[in-house]
Amino acid sequence: MSLSSRSARLRKWFNRRGWIKITIATPYIWLALFFLLPFIIVMAMSFATRTPTAPPFSFGGDHPVMNTDHYARLFSDDLYIRAYLNSIGNATLATLMCLMIGYPMALGLTRVSRSWRNVLLMLVILPFWTSFLLRVYAWMGLMGTNSWFNKLLTGAYNWIVPSDMALRYIPMMNTGFAVVLVTVYSYLPFMILPLYANLEKLDISLNEAAMDLGSKPFQVFRDVTLPLSVPGIIAGSLLVFIPASGELIIPSLVGSSSRPMIGRVISDEFASARDWPMASAVAVALLLLLVVPLMIYTYYDGKAHEKAQKEAT
């Protein structure tokens, strides 16, 4: 039997048994079960009222069934707004820095020989083989006031500046700088990999064409590579920005307590204050804050695409 007829038979069997439906349905079921359902629970919880029971909330009773106090508090207490702003500011800065460091790395990856490329890609992914927490602790060790690393930097700094400006150490731990540094370090691969996937697909002859038409290397980058890598930039930035916005561990371990972060606020409301409904309201608001702009973007991007398609026909 010929190969093609065999594969056709296989496909027919696959379709007849409804496997195709199952294949398509699986990711949706997964999403419904492990994203939508928990989100609905969290959403519902955000309208509940805190009670001294197990679990520590209830609907109705002496309180309205739909208790919107928690959402009102989001706006009445500036702590939450400050925390959102801090988190988003931090995530934005980290994303920009990941982009600035990750872009040349991703571009470099596409320009080296295939054998080198595999080695370098491996090196990009390698940190994942070590526990994330351990890597953060390693940074804490490096940034500590008495570490060799800090002493080295302090020595270099004191050597440059006049003696009356000399420092005993460089304050790095428990600063906003430390949070951005460790966030950038931790999330850099999430920027590099989608960018690399995008840049790797770009036809090198486009660059040659631009150069052939008179553009110097920088102009080639600005006119061709950069605009064509926008999808990769968006993908990488989202992969860094979204988890960085809700990041709990990094600000807790290396951050400054004077800058409340939204992840920490959720954790405090949930655990310290045992206010599950309030924690849920903060979490829902964070999700809306992050996802809604994304949905709007996707919607308009899709529309623009459709419009372009229509024009073409």
Binding site: A54, P55, L133, M140, S257, S258, R259, A271, R274
Partner: protein
Amino acid sequence: MTKLTRRTTLATLGAGLAMPYVRPSWAQSGTVNVYNWADYIGETTLADFEAQTGIGVVYDTYSSAEEMQAKMLAGSTGYDVVDHAGIDMPRAIAAGIYEELDKSLLPNWGNLDTEILRILSGWDEGNKYGMPYMWGSVGFTYNVDMVNERIPDADMTSMDLIFDPENAAKLADCGISILDSPTDIMLMVLKYLGLDGDTTNVEDYQKVVEAFKPIRQYIRTFDNTNYLNAIPNGELCAINNWSGDYATAAGRAAEAGIDMNLAYFVPKTGAPAWVDVMCITSDSPNRENAYKFLDFMMQPEVAAGCTNYTYYANANVPAREFVLQEILDDPAVYPDAETIGRMWAPKPFSEEQDRAITRAWQDIKSG
């Protein structure tokens, strides 16, 4: 509250080591599911229990009190025995997550220190629900040499050393760390300010916020775990912490061969005491074995074994005979009578207090 996140690092790395011991004897005697702080039991305690009773221990650990409370409040955990913070007991009892202990199944109950039971009864009236396990104080650990270098003849028993902005400014560069646990530190500050530590007037919390304001800029971090590494590295010199952690940090410094003059003080204006208790869940699937486990934990040698490993004081009187002399002699672990006199068991918080204290704490931290 009690000791919050303890040894997060070790908990993470040691999760594999803390896995249950698999023994064929389970088939006969069944198992008991225990949920405890990470690194908070004797080195051979679980193996000894299995050898003695033939009951397998499924041992699970947590590294933050909040994590444990959240899990217990959510319900249906399947645990039989849970280590819980004493001060949090009123809420746990109200939520109905633990069962009233049947003392007739606990013949070793008589070994328990009546003084500790008395303190505990403030949170668990009549000691109906919890067996006291370890206890201690909240205080300050100082790197004596680093502090004296900056403030000669500093009075380490006074919280002025931290809350006087002049002192705090001098100590800022060698590192001040405060517990990220409002129910511990805020009560201490209330006492320091001459207010009632058990105040129910939430306006008083605002005074604590005010007291922190002038020194906030000098506090390097609010933290419950990292000081265990930062102290031996000489990165902190004034650390607000729980009694046992002082000993752990000192041990780590000694292990690393660092000569370090550390001292632990309970402030003379007073500090909260804490007691951790072991409870049996109300939906315990192996109730009988849970009682056997609790009773086993009250055997003097067993309790002493736990103290000798964790450097926390146990609540077992005859166990003192088996506790290492150096631990018994360490006033940070087994405080003297005068120190005990400065400690008090805080009253449980109302919902309103809980919320106000969390909110005030967020203001303090964010300066």
